[in-house]
Amino acid sequence: MKKLSILLALVLAFSMFAMGCGGSSDDAAADDSSAGGNVIKIGVFEPASGDNGAGGKQETLGIQYANAMQPTVEINGEEYQVQLEIVDNESSTDKGPTAAQNLVSKGVSIVLGSYGSGVSIAASDIFGDAGIPALGVTCTNPQVTEGNDHYFRICFLDPFQGTVLANFAKDNFEAQTAYCLAKLGDDYSVGLCNYFKQAFEGLGGKVVYETFPDGNSDFTSYVANAAKANADVFFAPVSTEAAALIIDQASAQNLQMPILAGDTWDSNVITGAAKGKNVDINVTTFYQEGGNPEFDEGIKAWIEGDSTNLANNGGNTDLAAVTAMGYDAYFTALEAIKLAGSADPADVMAALPNVSYEGVTGLITFNEIGDANRTTAYVKHCNTESGIWEFVAEQGVE
């Protein structure tokens, strides 16, 4: 009997592994195009599950679309096939490094990602030690690129985004008190809340700041706390999973307060959750649908043409800014490879700071830290009747 129980436990453990790996290996296999000849590998370090699964999948879609558009790159007159190596970092800072190690052992020349600053920071050293450059797509926390030479990024930063949002709250809603909600231990939301707080207090406002623990799905009391604090705006730059619950609860409690958030909320998960509800949502983001009609049309047709892509985009063809960013990141990486004239990670890393690329989200150039030089953010408002994003303003910082 004892043997039987050990056997059973083993069988369960193995089936667990089989299940866990199933999802990600499917994705990778789908992108194994003709592998013969000259191949250069680009690693895609994105979450496909966990808190940021939805956003990570949309960012990956942009990269995959770009790869479908431009599957080859020319290095010194030779044609190289670009192969994407996609891993799932599970939105988790303890599982991310394993996924990163996986990319290193696959011998990628450059890594794109991740969605979510926390995982990027956690995996940074693995890429650094292996001498592989990483190009952050939408990780906005300053710590990602700070103090290292290998991490670059193409998006704006949280100090900038936080200031933009604080200005927006002050200008548009004449807010005196802001309620900020972050997830405990999450670098992105805690960081952004702090920058918002600094900027907002600098403008003479008052901030009530609270955090919720991992795994929390009951936001009743947080919404009630915001109402009790008599706040004028509700600032919650949290993951889309938590966001959907917050929106639902805000509507259920009839919270008459504009909700502000950062780039993560620019997702059809949010518009889906807010549709038909009594909420006022405003977010800052990288790209406004319609900014480049040709790109919009192409990617929509591509997403619609494949049921897996459609499912990964949340079941419709609404474009998220992260998808456009993923698209630009891929081409920025190709640009760096061309400039390096080599598939060697060290050469690509050396070439990256000099890259200048005009993408669909604007001109991408890097400063000495490795951050993109960006000076504007787009503010969008969610139309709760039609469930789409509406452009509000292009906001910079004075």
Binding site: M16, G23, G50, D218, A227, K228, T240, E241, Q253, A311
Partner: protein, 294 residues
């Protein structure tokens, strides 16, 4: 009046979430009472019930979907016991526990595989997802009906346990496994029945819980499951009224702590509270030696 208006939302939320924990906690406490097994897969059963609710409404109309979810969960609970626990009936207790942990991970990973890791939004059920205003606090109808439904179900369960033949068999098995077998009680049937009741309540709990907190993800069962388990220990594991009262105390406690502005520590306080209670009363609130352990 201001005081009530300010604090009522927290108390309402606490009572409601407490009722939902209670429905899960009964499953833990009954299985423990009879098998001396902590069924770690119970929280994940609850999650699977929620996930099934998401899919069921796309397959059939709502009035069929709800009974379907309940029946599916009951069958799943029955099958888990049949496949993963019954073959280990004479094995050391630790083996069954490991088996339960295995089932828990299996269910979570299965959900991860099916959903692709994305959070599914629970369908809104007419009426119970509507908003109402109670003394100036706006909330969903489900918040108000949860405690009523919970107490109704618990009363029905107590009647079942104390007035029916199967209830008597359950009480007997919980007292003494071997002797009740000698007395001609089909203990396998009694154990199956326990799992069926536990799963049934978990399914009801999942409908109520996810109507209020609409995101269903593969790990959605972990936290409510843990809290319900804590509630069961808190009330004295093996005791049904204890589990229910424990669940209400934990639900109200964590919401009041959040309302006091100590949001960061709400879980920490809840668990610290548990430790204090267990130091003072090691058997929990109602876990006296002679209680009916069902």
């Amino acid at each position: 009046m201001d005081f009530i208006r300010d604090n009522l939302p927290y108390i309402l939320a606490g009572i409601s979430v407490g009722g939902q924990y209670a429905l899960i906690a009964i499953g833990y406490t009954m299985v423990y009472g009879i098998l001396r097994l902590i069924n770690f897969a119970h929280g994940d059963m609850f999650m699977i019930a929620g996930l099934m609710g998401v899919y069921a409404v796309t397959w059939m109309p709502l009035y069929l979907a709800i009974p379907f979810v309940i029946i599916f969960t009951v069958v799943l609970g029955f099958l888990i016991e049949r496949v993963a626990y019954r073959p280990l009936r004479s094995a050391p207790r630790m083996s069954v526990m490991i088996s339960a942990i295995g089932v828990s991970y299996l269910l979570q990973n299965l959900a991860l595989y099916v959903t692709g890791g994305l959070t599914k939004t629970y369908p809104s059920i007419p009426w119970i997802s509507n908003t109402i205003t109670v003394f100036g606090a706006t909330t969903k109808v489900v918040t108000v009906i949860t405690p009523i439904l919970t107490i109704g179900l618990v009363v029905a369960l107590m009647i079942l346990i104390h007035k029916t033949k199967i209830g008597m068999a359950m009480r007997a098995v919980s007292r003494d496994f071997e002797t009740s077998r000698l007395m001609g009680i089909q203990i396998d049937n009694v154990i199956s029945m326990t799992f069926i009741i536990g799963s049934f309540l978990a399914a009801i709990g999942s409908i109520l819980y996810f109507s209020n907190y609409t995101g269903v993800m593969p790990t959605a069962g972990a936290m409510p499951g843990l809290k319900a388990f804590v509630a069961a220990v808190f009330g004295g594991i093996g005791s049904i009224p204890g589990a229910v009262i424990g669940a209400f105390i934990i639900g109200i406690c964590e919401n009041i702590i959040k309302g006091m502005g100590l949001t960061t520590f709400s879980d920490a306080f809840t668990f610290a509270f548990l430790i204090i209670i267990l130091i003072v009363r090691p058997t929990g609130l109602f876990g006296e030696k002679n209680i009916d352990k069902v």
